[in-house]
Symmetry: C2
Subunit: 231 residues, 2 copies
DNA sequence: AATATATCAGAACAATTGTTCACAGTCAAG
DNA sequence: CTTGACTGTGAACAATTGTTCTGATATATT
């Protein structure tokens, strides 16, 4: 049975906290000597000793003979029970999307790559890459802000940011942005191809679907990948 | 006017791409010699020369005499016009929230810190810290998943993740989760204190508000900070 | 033609940094 | 009491790494 000195646990915790803080401010890891200074240990060997333990415990990861190569693998939570998980924070890959424009019901959706000149929008939307997993190529994604109450039946509110994926066809069940040539408007609906006709189902279950018999009336502009409402 | 050799632009681009790739796989920056090897430059001085240029151009940032301290400030886009902004990706602070439970209209909202035993939920929601700016202390935030169609009038759908901030009072205009003692249900509404009565306004503008005269009937559980719908 | 910048190598240097070894005191368990 | 893990220092070493200097050629601008 591995005994535990009173220093050890405290040191482990202090080191882990230091690593997180340091990486958050500097974007890279501290050197062994910097760690030693911070936790009040004068020999690099003792720091190395603790780092080896933390590695073995699976908290960190290092590359041999590479300076400042400590990676934080998980948050330190000592011996506490694992069933109350707190908010963790870490550095992850974040995609930053410029908000290209607004969805207006009476206009087709502007799509990147078209000859429209986009001005640099001040606003952008940040989304962790992890959250977009399984949504295909990232370069196909773009973000629009919803203007007005025209999308209420899609459960989308004024000011919401909608992440789209460029597409000109859709599978059943996808929420899509479609341009209805007849009505001259853009709308967000769930898409169902029922063979003889296309059914566009509002997200709000109390509302009735739209049926369209002529496929040419429906132009799919993109699939809705994510909706973000920041209050 | 600064002239530009044909190599320069290509090198800058190559270096920036390498930095991004390297950081993505290793979580730390390459050394100058590693960069040199990769772009086919045998002297460290030339690499340093390019890195100084990139620093001056505002693409990267370094700390003097610190190994592997290159920070990527923005994505390299060369001389392209600035009005078509592409998706950028970088490493940022991300908060990872465990999804604590589900909102069910017929039950009060579970709040972290209560004596409920939370099991480790597999699902978590990642949100860049930047997106949560101005929402108060991060430790007061928690996430619930919406179950069923009970929140449709709040423009919130089955499966949506809702970020709450713990609160027991609200300002006018806040979207809040309230427990209505009378009806024995939780609901999400916009909150307005009109002096003699409390008005709870559905997000859907076509729906009618609820008026409550007895403040004791209304228990505020939390404010809605963000809604995320991942399709 | 003269000048400035871009391009490039090589070396030397100093600083930072990871690794390892020797040594030693404390303390709990077998 | 011996063993082994914990706690700790100090030094020495080697490797990595950033910095700087010399020197050289090329190329476009003035």
């Amino acid at each position: 049975m591995a005994r535990k000195g009173k220093m050890m646990e405290e040191r482990h915790q202090k080191i882990m906290k230091y690593l997180v803080d340091y990486q958050l401010t500097n974007q890279y890891s501290p050197s062994i000597r910097e760690i030693g200074d911070h936790i009040g240990v004068k020999s690099t060997s003792l720091v190395d000793y603790y780092l080896r333990q933390l590695t073995e415990m699976g908290y960190i990861d290092r590359d041999e003979r590479v300076s400042r190569s400590i990676r934080i693998l998980r948050e330190y939570n000592g011996d506490r029970q694992g069933n109350v998980r707190s908010i963790q924070y870490s550095r992850q890959d974040v995609l930053s999307f410029p908000v290209l424009g607004r969805i207006v019901a009476s206009e087709p959706i502007p799509v990147p790559g078209s000859d429209l000149a986009y001005f640099d929008s001040e606003s952008s939307v940040e989304i962790p890459r992890k959250m977009l997993a399984g949504h295909g190529k990232e370069s196909d994604l773009f973000v629009l802000e919803v203007s007005g109450d025209s999308m209420v039946d899609a459960m989308i509110n004024d000011g919401d940011k909608v992440v789209f994926r460029q597409a000109n066809k859709a599978s059943n069940g996808d929420m899509v942005a479609v341009w209805l040539a007849n009505n001259e408007e853009t709308t967000l609906k769930y898409f169902y191809n029922e063979g003889s006709r296309i059914r566009l189902q509002p997200a709000n279950p109390t509302m009735q679907p739209i049926y369209i018999n002529d496929p040419k009336q429906v132009r799919i502009m993109g699939k809705v990948v994510m909706v973000i409402r920041n209050l």
